[in-house]
Symmetry: C2
Subunit: 296 residues, 2 copies
């Protein structure tokens, strides 16, 4: 695919996400300039071939990608627009409602900003890679007023990274992420934390199922609690529902009647149906396959 | 290892667990007779080389392994002892307190019964295999009155299957299994069931972490609700704790104060420590490695 709207880009934030995007863009022939308040991070990204260090003498780029921690995104975006770093900006934060609303409140130029969220495959601990986005969703949450050319530029970013663009509202995005990522993460943390009162000598009794649940604890980056706080309403609503379901199961078991297995079987059957629905969605398997057997 | 106490065995229940045990014993030179109320199940097990069909003219075996569904174990055990199928009996049920107590109440011969629970690696759906127990724990819950020769016979069963014998009380066993298996299973079912109200078009947003959590739903066999009901107290207590922790996290988020990320970070940090403890226990990784890359 030959870039049309997107020939030059500035990537702000040379962490795993930013560097991976820079690598993908550079590989697609885009001229990428790198920014990070940590000069070492820029140097590391340069060494991987992600681009060159940004310099103040550059003309505005076609696109600025803000790939900094979620709580800093709006400040960085506002600053990038004020300094004229590029014509269109997007970001990679994992919550969208609060970021999109804060950008508006802060007075960012909404004609030149398309909130975005790429959903890479694989383990961030494995480091940056141009292929992390291949075949994975890349959410865009344009404003009603977003001009077509701005949206086309950010859509090209997703396409050049091999991702599958999906447009939705920030609210739709955050509800979905609460269900498929944020709440499973908190639940996994609670299950894992519960192991701290188990005699360590008994932990080897655990099978693969526990390892699978607990591994999810490592899935969100260090700023996980920031992310959850930025999606507080949707996450809290779902946590309440999960807490209610677990408490109901506990009540059934405490009651100890003969009907318990039947009532529990219903709860487990719903779980089995949810599992089947996720498997049918399929793309998560594809992403897993892409990880390869070395990721076992 | 040459069998000492254990030269002949009867395996009752030709499901995945029973057939896997029969395969391991046959492979170790034990003469194995197979019993199942379903003649097809016996025929299938015979075809895999697990042993021969049991016939009434046989003398009592050195060991009877009851590998039937948990709710039938005590009836089958009582019947096997009444018919003199073998000198020592053990079982493979996933809860031990209720089984050990019922066997006593029912009037089984406790001198000839050692409650047991092998914890195989791998996916039961992959079918029986002699190597499922290699390096994995095999719990024995002897009574105070269990004779040494009976315990030695069952210990030899575990050793011939390549498993690591661990002795504990039925109560210790059930508390541990609630923590490392039963509660994670219920929690996974609740998370997976919660996906049923998510637009299926959004499920591909899920990453590996959700797949890992949800996969645990498939880990327990069909009679999962029986198993939970048989470990009602320990499971209910832990479910209450997990429900409390999730509800507390929801309250923090609903409150929406600036301190939320810090309080949540503590919950996530405990999860991270539990994950590290499980990883340090190590054996679950070994078991996973044994599954091989074809299990991705």
């Amino acid at each position: 695919m030959t870039p049309a709207f997107l020939r030059t880009a500035v990537v702000i934030g040379c962490g795993v996400t930013g560097t991976s995007i820079a690598l993908a863009l550079t590989g697609a022939g885009v001229e990428v300039a790198l920014v990070d308040q940590d000069a070492d991070a820029v140097a590391r990204a340069r060494r991987t071939g992600a681009g060159t260090a940004w310099t103040p003498d550059r003309p505005p780029a076609d696109l600025v990608v803000v790939a900094t921690p979620p709580s800093t995104v709006v400040d960085v975006l506002h600053d990038a627009q004020a300094r004229g770093l590029g014509h269109v900006c997007t970001d990679t934060a994992g919550t969208k409602d609060i970021v999109a609303a804060e950008a508006e409140l802060r007075g960012c130029d909404l004609k030149g900003y398309v909130p975005g969220h790429p959903l890479p495959a694989g383990d961030p601990a494995a480091g940056p890679s141009a292929s992390r986005f291949a075949g994975r969703p890349w959410i865009l949450c344009p404003y009603d007023t977003t001009p077509r050319w701005a949206l086309a530029t950010v859509a090209e970013l997703a396409a050049l990274c091999g991702a599958v663009r999906r447009d939705m509202t920030p609210q739709e995005h955050d509800l979905a992420m609460a269900a498929v990522s944020h709440v499973p993460y908190v639940v996994a943390a609670v299950v894992a934390g519960g192991l701290l009162d188990v005699d360590p000598a008994l932990l080897p009794l655990a099978g693969d199922e526990l390892a699978g649940v607990v591994r999810a604890v490592a899935a969100l980056p260090g700023a996980g609690s920031d992310l959850l706080a930025h999606n507080a309403g949707p996450v809290a609503d779902r946590l309440d529902k999960a807490a209610g379901a677990l408490a109901a199961a506990a009540r059934m078991l405490h009651r100890g009647e003969d009907t318990v297995p039947v009532e529990l079987a219903l709860l487990l059957e719903l779980g089995e149906r949810g599992r089947a629905a996720l498997e049918a969605a399929g793309e998560h398997r594809t992403a897993e396959d892409a990880r390869g057997p070395d990721r076992m």
